[in-house]
Structure formats: C-alpha cells, structure tokens
C-alpha cells in the first residue's frame, strides 16, 4: 500500500530524513516509533504529498507522491499531530464540512465512524475549541475517516491524550483495521508499539529496525535487570560509573541494566551496590520491552 525507497529530506542545515526505505502491506497497522525530532512528521508529510523529498521516491496506493499527488489526496485520510480542525465551528459543522470537502456526506459513511462519533455526538452543538483533548482527537479521527480512506495517516494521535482515551483510541484503530483500512501511525510512546502489527524504530531520520514488535523483542540478546534502591539518583550514577553496568537507563520506578548474556550474575551487582552503600536493593530479571530494544539498538548505531 505504501512504499518508500531511500527518502532523504533536509531543511537547510537540519537533516530530517536520511535514507528511509520501507513498505507497508495492505490492511496492517504500521507503527513508526521514535522520540520527538526523529523525523516522523516529515515522513508523514512526504507521504501525504504535503512536502517533497530531496531524494528517493515513494508511492501510496500505487500512486507516486510527486506525480500523482491529486490521486493520493483523494484516497488517504490524514490526521496531523496538531489538532487542526476549525475551533470556532461546532463538532457537527466540522464533520459536515470535511464530508463535503471530500465529495461525500456524513450519512454515506456514517457506519465507518459510528463507533467513534457516537461518543462525541452528545456534544455536536459544541464548538470544537471547547472540547477536551480526548474528544478533539475523536472528532479529528472522524473527520479523517469521513470519506472512507484506503490509507490512514495518523501523526502522533495520542500525544497529549489521557491514558484511558489512548487505550480506547487503539481499540478504535483495531476496528478500522478490521474494515480493511491500512493505518500508518507514529507515536513517541514505546508502550503503544506492541499494539501495531509491525513497527519501525526511527531515530535522527534513520530507521533502526523494521519488524513485528514480537520479533524486535525476541532479537534482544542481552539479559535485563530492573534495579531499585533507596537512593535512585545515586544508584544511576554508581551503575554508570562501573564499566560492567554502564548500559543503564532510568525507566520510571526502576533502572534497567542490560548485561551481555551470561556474563555476570545478579550477585555480582548486588555486592557492588552494597559496597557503594545502597540499602533496600532490589534486583529482578525482567523481559525486555520495545523501549529497552530501542535503547539498545540506538546505542549500537551511535549516530
């Protein structure tokens, strides 16, 4: 459905994409995972024909993004990262406007958006600017879907949305996928990666790895320990100052230390930390998450 070959893009001195190639199959949810400034939005804008790549080519639905941009604009749905609907128009007016822009009517494709739109329908007379973050996002998705697109581009749809709404949102994507819509979604949240069929890890304009979330996690070769103690910030410093444990990242309530497989025992680490004066030490072996993989891979390809 979507195919990119060696895309390059730079804005003056700033390089946004440096050689991105990938392919998205029909009917899959393809996640593009990476931190802010990795080039996700640039990639989406090239694919939605909003900007031109400096080098490389891309097709959406078999149409070239440069030559056949008119065709692409007819068949894709695009939800930009920033809430981009008319704040001074009501929910209903926004939806109707976008329906006519795409030469269709709300009634014609109501089935597709029914599940999503029903949740905001009680507020249909409210101005879009006065909606909560989660409702805005549902309205934006309804507007992007109203013309029944074959490919849906969602640029960071869950940024700034509460955890419950985020979960709901992914549930909606699953349903859309069941209707045969191909979905490209970008997110900075690693925990959402496992909800995609396949993901691409992107950093500094380069794809680090493209695979299913499961394969990416399985490819993680090292063993991983979650470490906690009374003094977490001193713990991080102590871990990083020791050559054996320097692959250490702060992860919420614990630090994750990755060790080359079978090289060290948990006991060794415990002894070292005791020597440093830590109390209440807790070390558990854990299964890697996508985020651990991302850290590991991005470290390998020191950019």
């Amino acid at each position: 459905m979507v195919k990119c070959i060696d895309l390059h893009k730079s804005y003056g001195q700033t390089i946004a994409l440096q050689g991105v190639s990938f392919e998205v199959n029909a009917g899959e949810i393809f996640g593009i995972i990476g931190p802010d400034g990795a080039g996700k939005t640039t990639l989406f804008r090239i694919l939605t024909t909003l900007i031109l790549a400096n080098q490389g080519s891309a097709t959406v639905n078999g149409f070239d993004v440069v030559k056949d941009y008119r065709e692409i604009r007819k068949c894709v749905g695009y939800m930009p990262g920033r809430f981009s609907l008319y704040q001074d128009l009501t929910v209903e007016e926004n939806l109707e406007f976008f329906a006519t822009v795409f030469n269709t009517t709300v009634e014609e494709n109501y089935e597709l958006i029914k599940d999503i739109y029903q949740q905001i329908e009680p507020f249909k007379k409210r101005r879009a600017g006065k909606l909560s973050g989660g409702m805005k996002q549902k309205l934006a998705l309804s507007c992007a879907l109203i013309h029944k697109p074959t490919v849906l581009f969602l640029d960071e749809p869950t940024t700034g949305v509460d955890p419950v709404s985020r979960k709901e949102f992914w549930g909606m994507l699953k349903k859309l996928k069941a209707q045969g819509i191909t979905i490209l979604v970008s997110t900075p949240y690693m925990d959402e990666a496992s909800l995609c069929d396949r993901i691409a890890l992107i950093q500094k304009g380069k794809f680090l790895s493209i695979d299913t979330p499961l394969n990416i996690v399985n490819q993680y070769k090292n063993q991983l320990w979650a470490v906690r103690s009374m003094n977490m910030s001193k713990l991080l410093n102590d871990l990083r100052s020791n050559k054996s444990f320097e692959n250490c990242f702060a992860f919420g309530d614990s630090h994750h230390v990755s060790i080359e497989n079978k090289k060290l025992e948990i006991k060794t680490l415990e002894e070292y930390l005791l020597k440093c004066g830590h109390t209440d030490i807790e070390i558990t072996e854990i299964q890697p998450t996508i985020e651990d993989c991302f850290m590991e891979i991005s470290k390998d390809t020191t950019l």
Binding site: R45, T48, T49, L50, I51, L52, Y69, R70, R73, K74, V76, Y78, P80, R82, F83, S84, L85, Y86, Q87, D88, L89, E93, E96, F97, F98, T100, V101, F102, N103, C143, A144
Partner: protein, 368 residues
C-alpha cells in the same frame, strides 16, 4: 459546486462568529466618514473674524454686515487698535482680522480707492489662503453691487469660480479617498489574513490533503470579503449622499462597475500577500505598511499627486487606489461618463489580471 458552497458557508461562520472583527469591519467606514466629514474638515465654515474700524461709516458697516451674513464667517469681535491684533490671534479669538483704512468711505468716494488689510492666522496655511480668498470675493461682490452708485462704471472685478466644489467642501475630496482606502483595507488585509490563518492553525494541511482544488479554497475565501466590501461600499455611498450631501453627479452604474473592478484588484492583492507570508501578523503588517500608508499618502487622497516630487509621482502609478480615486472623482463629483474613465479602467484591469496570474502561480499546492 457543493464543495464551494459549503466552504463559503464555513467562511461566513468564521466571520460572523468573530464578533469584534465583524463589528470593526462594518463600523470602520461609518466612523471614518463621520470623522472626515465633521471633525477633520478643511472647509470654510463659521470662521471667526475680528474687525478693526477706525471710523465707522456706511460702507464699512455694510461690508462687515455682508461678511457676517455669509455662512463662511462670523464677525465675533470689534477691536479698537492695532495693538490688539496680536492678542486676538494668540487667544484664538479669531482666525482672521480685517483692518479698515482711516476715513474708508470718504477715501472711496473721493479717490475711488480704499484699502482693507486682511491679516490671517497662517499656522494652517491652506486654511489661511482660503479665508483671505473668500473675504476678497465677498468684498469684490460688494464692489460689484456698488457699481451703479459709483462714478466708475468700468471697474472690473475679477471673479473666481471654484469648479466642481464651489464651497470647497472637504467631503468631495475625501469620500473617494475613504472608498479607496476602506475597500483595499478590507479586501486585501482580511483576505490575506483569512488564508494565512488556515496555514497558521494547521487546517491548511488537511485542506491540501483533500480533493479540494486550490482555486475553490481561494474563491471561498474571497467571496465573504467581496460581500462585506459591497456592504461597505453601499454604506459609504449612502452616508456621503444623505449625510454629507455629496451627490453622485455621474452614473451610479459606472461607479459600481469601477468599484467592483477595484475590489477585484484588492482581493487579488490580498491573495498575493497570503502566498508570500506564513503568519497572520506578517500578513497584517505587510498589508498595513505596504498598502495603507501608500494608499493614504500617495493616492492623492491627502496630498495632490501633482505636488509630489517626480519619483513619487512615478511611483504613485503602481498604487491601485490612485487610479480608483481618480476615477471616482471623475464619475461621482464631476459627473463624467464611462468614456472619461477608460484609462483608469484599463490600468485597473491590467493590475487585476497581473495580480491574479501571479498569485495563482504562487499559490502552493504543498506546504513548502
């Protein structure tokens, strides 16, 4: 077509829901007309005059009476000596002092000549010139009336007639000016802001990724402001005809035609500005600086073009308002027909076509 209609309706929602802006847009022409018409007036009306008459006699009394009776002047003060003249001006008691010669009537009868000195407050030189000119005229007309009684039947009094604006009413000059300014302001500034706002708010991104043709976007943006401009045009015309008593000497139809053409030029200009700027503030500044000021200063609205240095005179040719104001003066004030404004029509049409072509070429179908 349905796309376009729905887009136009959306634009009207935007405008009508922004209460402050719509109020400003509708009230601006009214306020400007009233300001120019009543506050910033340059016409001569009830100007205060003081007189210094050494010996009052039949002729001086009649002359003073006549001056006082005219609607231009009010004789408010009679002063006793020349020492008081300075004081009269300094205290703003009068703008003009008439000093009669000694034995005024006697000298006129015996020598056939007598003098009146007109002293005017020339801090406003244009006004001072008008005052002296008006008084001279009144005196001349008095002289004319006296011819029968005098022994000098061949005396010739020069008669100056002010063509088209005999009372030198300021409104005759500024109504076309205000029209030229308001229309360019609303069309150019508001259209450019409306288009740039879509870019700034990110909605342009969605509109671009849709089958909507850019020409529809442009048309939809232009339509509401075109309607608004027409309302403003009518407001100004109604106010100037009924409140300021500036009649439409020529054909109303011709006036409408040339105004539509001018509105078209202004809309095209707004479109061009919107393709060159990325933010509403930039669009506002460009329309403000690049349109407002030249329109006010170089269109002949405030300063006559003939009095400008040559480079500015040449530059004024590229300002649409200059041609429009000139055409409105010809049609509305002088009452000339369509054939008199062919040159203006051609220049404005040329500008409209050029601007439309450039801005359509420049209109981006992508974000960059």
């Amino acid at each position: 077509m349905k796309q376009l209609l729905s887009f136009v309706r959306k634009e009207f929602y935007h405008i009508l829901r922004d209460k402050t802006t719509i109020l400003i847009l509708l009230l601006m022409p009214i306020i400007q007309i009233i300001l120019f018409g009543f506050a910033l007036t340059t016409e001569v009306k009830d100007t205060r005059v003081a007189v210094l008459i050494p010996q009052s006699d039949e002729i001086t009394t009649k002359l003073v009476e006549r001056i006082h009776a005219s609607s231009y002047f009010d004789v408010v003060n009679t002063i006793q000596s020349s020492y008081e003249i300075q004081k009269t001006f300094r205290d703003s008691q009068a703008k003009l002092v008439l000093v009669f010669e000694n034995d005024f009537a006697a000298k006129l009868k015996h020598d056939g000549i007598a003098h009146i000195q007109l002293i005017a407050d020339a801090t406003d030189p244009n006004a001072a010139t008008s005052f002296t000119f008006y008084v001279s005229n009144i005196i001349a007309s008095y002289q004319q009336d006296m011819i029968g009684t005098m022994k000098n039947p061949y005396q010739i009094t020069p008669e100056v007639k002010m063509l088209y604006n005999p009372q030198m009413i300021g409104a005759f000059n500024f109504v076309p000016g205000v029209l030229g300014m308001i229309l360019i302001l609303i069309c150019a500034m508001m259209t450019s802001i409306a288009i740039v706002r879509e870019k700034e708010k990110g909605t342009m991104e969605i509109l671009l990724v849709s089958p909507m043709r850019p020409i529809y976007t442009i048309l939809a943006k232009i339509t509401p402001y075109f309607v608004l401009s027409c309302i403003n045009f009518l407001t100004i015309i109604i106010l100037s005809v009924f409140v300021l008593k500036v009649p439409i000497a020529g054909s109303f139809f011709t006036l409408v035609i040339i105004s539509m053409l001018y509105i078209f030029v202004a809309l095209a200009l707004g479109l061009l500005i919107s393709t060159l700027t990325e933010s509403q503030v930039a669009a506002m500044l460009i329309s403000g600086m690049a349109l407002m000021i030249p329109v006010m200063l170089l269109s002949g609205m405030i300063f006559p073009i003939e009095n400008m240095p040559l480079p500015l005179q040449i530059f004024s040719n590229v300002i649409p308002a200059r041609w429009y104001i000139s055409a409105v003066k010809l049609v509305m004030i002088q009452g000339l027909g369509f054939s008199a404004i062919i040159k203006e029509m051609l220049v404005l049409s040329f500008m409209a076509i050029t601007l439309i072509v450039i801005s359509l070429k420049k209109f981006k179908v992508r974000l960059e």
